[in-house]
């Protein structure tokens, strides 16, 4: 997924105050590789998508591609994408927050914390084919766990249908990378809670409930909501995992885009794919703008 890049602006007074011998153009020169990278891999493709969304096959201006977003199949896909992202964001945020809390009350240099933080760093990036395969190999039709449950306990994981390859499966698999991402973004906020605050509440005769209700909760809420939005955007734009897992019906928007670009049955859908992409950009942009606003609020407490 692509996050808005917010580089700290060079301070207006930076150049002269940076000691002798530095020149402003030198500072810019250092940034050039980054700019080229972002330009080629982020700005240019986004421009292509934006332009294509408003063009027909001959390159003339049209609004038909955007109109196609209202069609049953595409509208359904957007609804399902939002639903999937919302569910996994919520599940990921709740479990991730509980895990972060468990870690944050332990020793800051303890082994559990180090393991969880390092593990989250790895698992939050675990997606695509490897993740899909991991689930297929364990709880797939011929998966290890599936077979074990069947042979030992007589339980059939798939009695209710092929859930792993449909929405429930996507929720399960997405949650798997949402929880560690939550730990990464939420742990710093929890670390920002100062023990003195708790002591002050206790000293004034407050209970645990009073503390969470009036101090801990309000301080953490913006961070939690911000993380929720981040997780939403993360799930909304994830593609590779779903692509590896789901091959029928293209239930979510990224898979619809795949179909529009590579399908050999319904042709001439490329620009409808770009319009779908534009729709996704809008949804993620809204989520990330809200996130940026919240981030500014909770950054004060850290």
């Amino acid at each position: 997924m692509v996050a808005p890049v917010a580089a700290p602006a060079p301070r207006a007074d930076a150049a002269p105050g940076r000691g002798p011998g530095t020149r402003p153009w030198l500072a810019w020169l250092v940034v050039v590789p980054f700019l080229v990278y972002v330009g080629v891999f982020l700005v240019y493709p986004t421009g292509v998508v934006l332009a294509g969304a408003f063009q027909d096959a001959d390159g003339a201006f049209t609004l038909e591609n955007l109109a196609a977003l209202g069609e049953g199949v595409h509208r359904q896909a957007f609804l399902r994408s939002v639903e999937l992202s919302a569910w996994t964001a919520l599940l990921g945020a709740v479990f991730g927050a509980l895990l972060s809390w468990a870690v944050s009350v332990g020793r800051p240099d303890g082994l559990p914390r180090r393991v969880v933080v390092a593990g989250s760093g790895v698992l939050a990036q675990f997606g695509g084919v490897p993740l899909a395969f991991a689930f297929l190999a364990t709880v797939g039709f011929q998966g290890f766990v599936t077979r074990l449950l069947k042979d030992v306990f007589g339980l059939d994981l798939f009695a209710g249908g092929a859930w792993l390859f449909e929405m429930p499966g996507l929720v399960l698999v997405y949650t798997f990378f949402q929880v560690p991402l939550m730990v990464i973004v939420f742990l710093p906020a929890l670390d920002g809670l100062r023990p003195q605050w708790r002591e002050a509440v206790d000293g004034l005769g407050g209970t645990a409930w009073t503390y969470w209700r009036h101090v801990g909760g309000p301080v953490l809420l913006p961070a939690f909501l911000g993380a929720l939005l981040l997780l939403f955007a993360n799930a909304f734009s994830a593609y590779a995992t779903a692509a590896a897992l789901v091959s029928q019906g293209s239930p979510i928007v990224p898979l619809q885009i795949r179909g529009a670009l590579t399908g050999e049955v319904l042709l001439g859908q490329e620009n409808v794919g770009k319009a779908l992409g534009l729709g996704m950009v809008v949804v993620v942009a809204v989520a990330m703008s809200l996130y940026a606003l919240l981030h500014r609020r909770f950054a004060r407490w850290q």
């Binding site: 330009g39 092929a162 293209s250 049955v265």
Partner: protein
């Protein structure tokens, strides 16, 4: 998915009181990045002009254009390379065909994206136009071939007369190379033999029936739905019963929404696969000794289709591209298709001349009754119906 960008921001955020200014800075960066993108776009490497494409070769409409087959071979050898795309080695014997071509002419074949779709081939040709890595030749479903006629160079192979008229574009822009029938492949050790499409609704097939791809995207799956329609009271003009069939299959818990591949077949994840008979039959040969993979073309539901060959009009190796066509449509090339259990387009001619590989022909899955080939109108109608109903039926 990369979260690294946010991660760095989410890290112990430094309080940034100058939110407004930071925003302006970010904007400036985006502007610069856009400028950089423009520069990068303008500075894209120009088309390789080292090996100048032979204009005569690119306009030759038959071997006579080169002054005969021997001259064509000479010109192709001089080019020394051929780019092919979307040819899986275990599909219609393409692995062996490529090897045989390389051995015969000493021309190196670059095989890109073996698992790509027909549309991907066209996309690649457009994106790589003028580049020496662009595909020289295409192997396309009829649908995609029809839609992109203007990308192909007309070329008629020596054996042009043997190709049935309904399977070739009159100028030779594209023509059928090999075909087959929709079939049901199954692991005889795991499931009983299905005789008809409707048999697949029985409880013995619970969670076992897979379709090769999404029919709104993949040609093989599309024909699978047509087969289901014919076996469920529909016709080439009305494929709704086919969609209905898969809806029932899903309701019965028999439909397996997994994309079948040699790996899923071998591991037993997909014990029943609806696919072309030649790809299913290739699995039979491949799994010999490991699994008893059998193929049946269901009675009364015979859907056939031919794939098509075409030469890219902007082929970087125009002579090699044309030699490849000559090779594919020669007796040798056609028999290689046959050994891959697909039905080469010159099968009748080969049978008449006695040049056919009889052992390979005997292995073809049995067919009986009247085969159905969709006309373009029927296909268009079916596609429209599918795009409106498929996602809801299996979603």
């Amino acid at each position: 998915m990369t979260h690294s960008a946010e991660r760095s921001r989410a890290r112990r955020g430094v309080a940034e009181p100058h939110g407004g200014r930071r925003f302006a800075g970010a904007l400036r960066l985006v502007g610069l990045a856009a400028a950089a993108a423009l520069v990068a776009a303008c500075g894209a490497p120009p088309a390789k002009d080292g090996a100048a494409v032979d204009a005569d070769a690119a306009s030759a409409k038959s071997a006579a254009g080169f002054g005969g087959l021997a001259k064509l071979v000479e010109a192709a050898k001089k080019e020394g390379r051929l780019n092919v795309i979307a040819l899986p080695p275990d599909w219609a014997n393409y692995g062996e065909i490529i090897k045989a071509f390389e051995a015969e002419y000493g021309i190196e074949v670059e095989s890109a994206q073996p698992d790509a779709s027909s549309q991907d081939e066209i996309n690649a040709a457009k994106q790589l136009k003028g580049n020496d890595r662009a595909p020289d030749v295409f192997d396309l479903g009829l649908n995609v071939a029809l839609a992109n006629k203007d990308l192909f160079a007309p070329y008629q192979v020596e054996t042009w007369a043997d190709i049935p008229a309904e399977l070739k574009e009159p100028d030779g822009r594209y023509y059928g190379d090999y075909g087959g029938f929709m079939s049901i492949g199954y692991d005889a050790a795991k499931v009983p033999a299905p005789k008809s499409v409707k048999d697949l609704l029985k409880p013995e097939y619970q969670g076992k029936v897979a379709l090769n791809g999404d029919p709104t995207q993949a040609g093989a799956a599309f024909s699978g739905v047509v087969m289901a329609a014919l076996g469920n009271g529909g016709s080439a003009d009305d494929i709704a019963p086919g969609v209905e069939f898969f809806k029932q299959l899903k309701a019965a818990g028999n439909f397996l929404p997994v994309d079948p591949s040699p790996a899923t077949i071998e591991s037993g994840q997909t014990p029943v696969v609806i696919d072309w008979d030649y790809t299913n039959a290739a699995q039979t040969a491949k799994l010999a000794g490991k699994a008893d993979w059998k193929v049946v073309v269901p009675q009364g539901a015979q859907v056939g289709a031919y794939y098509n060959q075409a030469v890219n009009k902007d082929a970087p190796h125009p002579a090699a591209a044309r030699l490849w066509q000559e090779f594919l449509f020669s007796d040798k090339g056609q028999n290689l298709y046959l050994q891959g259990l697909s039905r080469p387009v010159r099968l009748d001619a080969l049978t008449r001349s006695g040049k056919v590989d009889a052992a390979a022909a005997a292995k073809l899955p049995e067919t009986g009754g009247e085969p159905v080939f969709l006309t373009q109108e029927q296909a268009d109608k079916a596609k429209k119906a599918l795009s409106e109903t498929w996602a809801r039926a299996v979603g």
